[in-house]
């Protein structure tokens, strides 16, 4: 205790006082319900923005995030197919 500077003793005391309640708060039902609602809200807002901007961007013939996502999903699907075929070939050989 004596080795620690005053500011550190004060910090540790504050951390002891706040740490436990903060951890209990993030474990609480209320916090998790609120966080879940916030995350759902964020997702909804993101989708809404995407939906509303899609029409405008398409009118200007500009690809949207949805278009890019669809393309990259197709690439990923192809990549998975290649992996599957390679695996089959290795197992057969």
């Amino acid at each position: 205790m004596a080795d620690r500077p005053l500011w550190r003793q004060a910090f540790d005391a504050a951390e002891r006082a706040l740490g436990g309640p903060a951890e209990a708060a993030v474990r609480s039902e209320a916090f998790n319900d609120a966080l879940a609602a916030a995350l759902r809200g964020q997702r909804w807002a993101q989708q809404e923005v995407e939906r509303r901007t899609r029409r405008v961007l398409h009118m200007a013939n500009v690809p949207t995030a949805t278009d890019v996502r669809l393309l990259s999903q197709q690439v990923a699907s192809l990549q998975r197919e290649v992996r599957r075929l390679r695996r089959e070939q290795e197992d057969a050989g």
Binding site: F11, G19, A22, A25
Partner: protein, 348 residues
Amino acid sequence: MISPGSLARRARGALRYAGGRDAPEVGTTPRELVWSRDTARLWRYRGDAVTSGPPVLVVHSLVSRSYVLDLYRGNSAIAFLLRAGLDVLLLDWDAPDEADAENTLETYVDDYLPRAIAAACTATGAHELTLLGYCLGGDLALLAVARHPELPVRNLALMATPVDFSHMGALSALVRAGRLNAADLVDRSGNVPAASVETAFRLLKPTAEAAQYANLWQRLCDEEYVAGYQAMNRWVHDHVPFPGAAFGQLVEQLVRDNALMAGTLELGGRRVDLGAIRCPVLSIVAERDHIVPLKAAEPLPRLVGAQDAGELRLRAGHVGLVAGRSAATVTLPGIADWIRGHGVAAAA
């Protein structure tokens, strides 16, 4: 009161820290890639002399970078095991992308792990090995051995491996039934983003970051401490995304159904029987682990069918099992002793 000299030393330390100067290089133990498949990579480390067999295959978690096991010179679990005379290999995972989003637990347990084990045996010339899983990597190793008792696994050592997910605290609270579904947490790539993984870990100890900065400020004059802090701080903020499909299974079966404890886990349409694990098992648990609390890992030896199933309980935290002073003085010697005690002298 801080003296001017101390303040100057601290300022120098702060500048070094802010500039990233003298940050130790991570993952420097010499190694070679002996096998890879998609995001799975199998590394073999080069040690001086192998005095004890069989080889040890470390299975790393899916959500963090494996260099925590080989943090920097003088603070490396891998280097410790090599010095203990063991032949060490590591199976880790590169960051998954959209092509990996459909990876299920079966992808890891039935495909990558058995293939990696076979490749490890080929690379080392051994006919069996010791599996050493860390965190979620421990669960993968556990499930692989349970589903494939024919795998050439002589021993199974599992560090901070959760089995009772009802005690995973804040990490599982958000995805309990009625709150968020796994699909709510995946991004456009189909995976749980690395940033979300990091935030989930941060929420476990909301004041931890402030305490770490206080420690750093107090010890800014200590170059060794600052170097260690930089390496660890890099790792703490360097997560990898969680493959979406595997995350979905984890939420539905391991968290919501607590299926490992209930004995109801089904993979590939087949029930997983942990009782089928007959090889010696060591569960290494950390009393101060805030990520995998003691109660989440504690039941493991009782779930397996091995007669030789024990526990090594240590006064350490989650990362302290593999890095830092407590790892070098307590955890790793204990693990190395157990592995050597359950192994054989290596052929000269």
